[in-house]
């Protein structure tokens, strides 16, 4: 089970708790996890990545295991601790605007 933590705006939109748990059948990559997240919560489509290009929105950052994964290619495997559910993938709105 993959664990994903969402920021407040997206929790409000998806009507979910801070942490959601997702089944990911394929290799555990950013793309696979975000695909599973959007499938579970369609309201999140377009809020984390562009709905057409799939590119991460500029003010959204992805972290796990104390690493900034925001700039990793979307098909790169996520850390093993995310894949085995030990650590969550953190979706964070970038600090901006004071």
């Amino acid at each position: 089970m993959i664990r994903v933590e969402l920021p407040a705006h997206l929790r409000q939109l998806a009507r979910c708790e801070r942490e959601v748990q997702l089944e990911v059948d394929a290799a555990v990559t950013q793309r696979a996890v975000l695909d599973a997240l959007e499938a579970r919560y369609p309201a999140l489509r377009g809020t984390i990545r562009d709905p057409v290009t799939g590119v991460r929105r500029p003010f959204v950052r992805l972290y796990a295991c104390e690493q900034d994964l925001s700039h990793e290619p979307p098909d790169t495997p996520l850390p093993g601790a995310v894949a085995d559910g030990t650590q969550p993938l953190l979706i964070i709105g970038a600090m901006a605007g004071g």
Binding site: L10, L13, G46, T47, V52, V60
Partner: protein, 371 residues
């Protein structure tokens, strides 16, 4: 029992203000979508319980929310605003070309006859439509693909399509306004468009015959006279009596002809309201006095309406979509400020009182008259 529902979009959520027809006691509900910038909330004339809202933000983009119970509950619907085909380029502030890029929805205009049909004006400027209650949105690309598109440039708030008027007598005719391109009209339901900016004069545009480039801030129409349009331009208040083919200035004795919103009385087609703002660099009322100006003569002769409005030390702004009227027997006028106040007049503007004083900065005010 009749009443009104005032739909307020703010920098940090939406609020719904309701009252009976006396408009003295108000219930305030919200914030809906707290933390989101809500540029617009609109109700369907075909079903007043059907509302649409356009929350957005720099972090998580655009969301569209729909209510089927008058705003008590909301559900997200489709938010994919993809331009049709290759979007092409427009001008950036420095005159260089920049590709069209969707940023946000500025204005929602529901159909008068079908609760599932809504038009959306967006930044970068384009017109979209849904016919399935917001589940999917499709661009009417003939506007963006007008030959003048590469000359369009952003106003200070971005290159936004902020005003949509559906002609009440001709379902094929739509007027839109874009900052800073100007006004466009379609007579074939949105397939083809023509710029209608003759008579507009703007500093920085030397030619009075310029087809586009004018920073139109807002348009208003009385439904009984769809050939007459009123305009608040960046500077200048204007009117047209031939569906936008020609414009003439009606600023008259206004203390400043800069401003954002413009509205028409519900029962008097020649009674018009504006809120003069000092200048394009001083976005607050002249002399720190918040005054709505009313013309009962279709322009040129204006009177200040001050009773109940702050007449000293007031330095708020009133944005382009933040003034509206109800259609009760005694017409009500409403506007919201960047200071978070929503003011109402239940007597055509003679007397004003705040409904609320401390909301986040108000971006839009729409009014539903309920029967």
């Amino acid at each position: 029992m009749s009443g009104v529902r005032v739909l307020v979009g703010t920098r940090k959520g939406a609020f719904i203000l309701t009252s009976d027809e006396r408009r003295q006691q108000w219930a305030v509900a919200g914030p809906h979508f707290p933390g989101w910038e809500v540029y617009h909330v609109a109700g369907s004339p075909a079903d007043p319980d059907r509302l649409y809202a356009a929350p957005s933000g720099g972090w998580f983009g655009q969301v569209i929310q729909r209510s089927d119970d008058g705003g008590a509950t909301w559900d997200p619907v489709g938010n994919d605003f993809a331009y049709a085909g290759e979007p092409g380029n427009h001008q950036w502030y420095d005159g260089t070309l920049r590709p069209w890029e969707f940023t946000r929805v500025w204005h929602l205009e529901p159909s008068p006859t079908d609760k599932d049909t809504v038009y959306a004006g967006v930044q970068d400027a384009a017109l979209f439509r849904t016919t399935d209650g917001g589940a999917s949105w499709h661009e009417l690309p003939g506007l963006r693909e007008h030959g003048s598109g590469p000359q369009w440039q952003p106003g200070a708030g971005g290159m936004c399509l902020h005003t949509i008027i559906l002609d009440p007598e001709n379902a094929e005719r739509i007027f839109v306004a874009i900052s800073a391109a100007g006004v466009f009209r379609t007579d074939d339901g949105g397939t083809s468009w023509e710029p209608i900016n003759q008579g507009l004069l703007s500093d920085g545009i030397p030619s009075p015959a310029a087809e586009v480039g004018h920073c139109v801030h807002n348009l208003a129409m009385h439904p009984s006279r769809p050939q007459t349009l009123f305009m608040q331009k960046h500077w200048d208040v204007m009117r047209s009596d031939d569906s936008g083919d020609h414009w003439s200035e009606i600023s008259g004795n206004l203390p400043s002809d800069f401003g954002f919103p413009i509205a028409v009385h519900a029962h008097e087609p020649e009674t018009v309201y504006v809120v003069p703002i000092t200048s394009d660099s001083h976005h607050f009322p002249p002399d720190g006095r918040l005054r709505v100006y009313r013309s009962r003569t279709g322009g040129n002769t204006w009177e200040p309406l001050t009773n109940g409005l702050p007449q000293e030390n007031c330095y708020v702004n009133v944005l382009r979509d933040a003034m509206a009227v109800d259609t009760l027997a005694e017409c009500g006028i409403y506007f919201g400020t960047t200071g978070g106040q929503v003011y109402a007049s239940a007597d055509s503007g003679d007397n004003w009182a705040p409904i609320v004083r401390d909301l986040p900065a108000v971006l839009s005010v729409q009014v539903q008259t309920l029967s």
